[in-house]
Amino acid sequence: MKFSVSLGDEGSSFHCGEQQNLLEGMQTFQVGVPLLKLIPVGCRGGGCGVCRIRILSGEFETKKMSRKHVSDQEQAEGVALACRVYPRSDLCIELLSSAENDNNHSERESL
């Protein structure tokens, strides 16, 4: 089952299978053309925060994401890391700037 993922105002979209996270879907969308770079790609493990997005509408599941980049409350408001999001319906998303990532959660984990 494939769902469509569209990016806010920019009118761009790609398809993503339900077994794929959004970055995988984006990178395998069109064979033979340069990889889509709609969402920045980093560690692909939910750790670095460069693929931070907000999901504006649609159903999805997530794997564990770094709390440094997505707080509990943000998660409840639809903020997520695209490399950990699996679509369960068509999605509408927007990119969040990485500047915002750094400012929000720059404090160090204490030991």
Partner: protein, 309 residues
């Protein structure tokens, strides 16, 4: 001048799923699984390492590095370096023996870049894994994955790298082996590579706006063929590749970068330069940073600068 700090001894890495992480570090990197402790932390080591463990994985809500530890030559040196650190103005905490299974007392200190480092003198010595101490064979036959030899170094990102480099040099006797300097920005040091041994580096620092960031932990392989073989394994197991196989300009090591399942970067590498105490500092110009980091592409990859945990 060396001050009895011998080598990187351990790194504690935060992961978001401990079982996934153990599969990655044990079966893909090929580290030896030496067990778990009462807190559920997983302990591993490269097969050539004589001490009981060098990598500790701790499950947490966010990935990154908890601390990096260096082994010193004796308990007397440990006490002396502790006094020196206190005199230097570091925040120092003594962690009792046994907090890490099989490790003696640790002296943990904070640094200007916000990274925690530790010194310790004693750790249970279990010997190289799979080979005997007498008439040892070349290597054990039943190694897994990339067959990483040893934990080698970390690259850390932080703001005041001048401060941390100065601390490592003046208190712990590290030597700067290589630097990247921005001459257009008033000789600003962009990166500092430091050695406490005769390796090209034992720890490296890169300037970055935030404190306490982890760029990678690196593991040593025998040959360039092993680096290519690691690249094959990365494809076979669909591991997130960062860049490589390629060569670094800095230190000239042959390398590949990839990510663990929580987004912490790993490196496996081979070769590279060496550092004797009389060696001058190798300087790279910041406008050649592309070549300094990726010697073949000669192009800076944005992820190298921005993707950290």
């Amino acid at each position: 001048m060396r001050k009895g700090v011998m080598r990187p001894g351990h790194v504690q890495i935060r992961v978001m799923d401990i079982e996934e992480a153990v599969i990655h570090y044990r079966d893909r990197l090929g580290l030896i699984d030496v067990g778990r402790d009462a807190q559920g932390r997983a302990y591993l080591k490269g097969w050539t390492e004589v001490d009981r463990f060098s990598v500790v994985l701790r499950e947490a809500d966010e990935p990154g590095m908890d601390f990096m530890g260096f082994k010193v030559v004796s308990s007397e040196v440990l006490e002396q370096r502790k006094q020196d650190l206190l005199r230097y103005g570091c925040q120092v905490e003594v962690i009792p023996a046994g907090e890490l299974d099989g490790c003696g007392e640790r002296v943990r200190f904070d640094s200007p870049t916000g990274h925690y480092f530790e010194l310790y003198a004693e750790k249970e010595q279990t010997g190289k894994w799979g080979v005997s101490e007498n008439n040892p064979e070349a290597w054990p036959e039943d190694l897994k994955g990339m067959r990483a030899n040893r934990f080698d170094h970390c690259l850390l990102y932080g703001d005041d790298i001048d401060g941390t480099a100065e601390l490592l040099q003046s208190v712990l006797g590290f030597q700067v082996s290589e630097q990247v300097v921005d001459r257009e920005a008033g000789e600003l040091c962009v990166a500092s590579f430091l050695a406490c041994s005769m390796k090209a580096h034992d720890v490296a620092l890169v300037r970055y706006p935030a404190k306490g960031k982890f760029h990678h932990a690196s593991f040593y392989l025998d040959t360039w063929g092993d680096v290519l073989r690691a690249a094959d394994l990365i494809s076979m197991h669909d591991i997130a590749l960062d860049i490589g196989p390629t060569r670094h300009g800095l230190t000239h090591g042959q390398t590949i970068y990839f990510f663990d399942p929580s987004g912490n970067r790993n490196e496996v590498f081979t070769g590279g330069d060496y550092t004797y105490p009389d060696h001058p500092v190798v300087i790279w110009d910041a406008h050649q940073l592309g070549k300094a980091i990726f010697y073949h592409d000669r192009e800076l990859n944005e992820n190298f600068l921005n993707v950290v945990t």
